[in-house]
Symmetry: C2
Amino acid sequence: MKRSLETIVYKKDTEALAKFAKVLGHPTRIAILKHLESATCCHTGDLVDVFPLAQSTVSQHLKELKNAGLIQGELNPPKIKYCINQENWNVAKKLFQDFFD
Amino acid sequence: MKRSLETIVYKKDTEALAKFAKVLGHPTRIAILKHLESATCCHTGDLVDVFPLAQSTVSQHLKELKNAGLIQGELNPPKIKYCINQENWNVAKKLFQDFFD
DNA sequence: AGTTCTTATCGCAAATGTACGATAGGTAAA
DNA sequence: TTTACCTATCGTACATTTGCGATAAGAACT
């Protein structure tokens, strides 16, 4: 990508909203989140069973959701239990609410 | 991308939400939409002045927003006036609202 | 120690996204 | 018709994303 020299700086809210939107911009991740909402919590393996995707692929999506802060995983050896991160979920919710008027 | 043979089919709402989110997943496009919200309408040239981006790049972002249905352009020769497409805007709004509880 | 179970990470391939300059297209006015 | 203006599209380069299989990492049990 030929980029201009300086990176464009946007308002914090704009950056934050775009970051959340980007992570939501894939149907699998939306579906994972919906699943986590309804199931309260679940393990990676459960999700691998739900989607016709490789385990590594599901794990990657979970990683991105975790990086964005939308989910969190707590150890429950040898499994990991993933849940919605309610705090950041509300942050994202508010950003979208404000954006859409 | 080595893909599995069959494409995964998601629920309609999931697909639609992901599509909107994807388009919102870039700070420039968020900023463009915010600008269009406040200015009611504006021309491509105005946006080119606002962002330190090439005219072709801005045009490309506008095209994606148009493809997603979030904006529409009406001819106002030799300029084009871009506005929020309120109908689809409301569709997106509702999808995000429902998603976030 | 080794075994098993679960999940993360690595390395690769292919697709998609982002940005630019250059060029084309379309309209209005000279 | 030529000129000027505004916008879209083309072609290109590089970055990022997506997906897979293979491998590593960690904990619990034998």
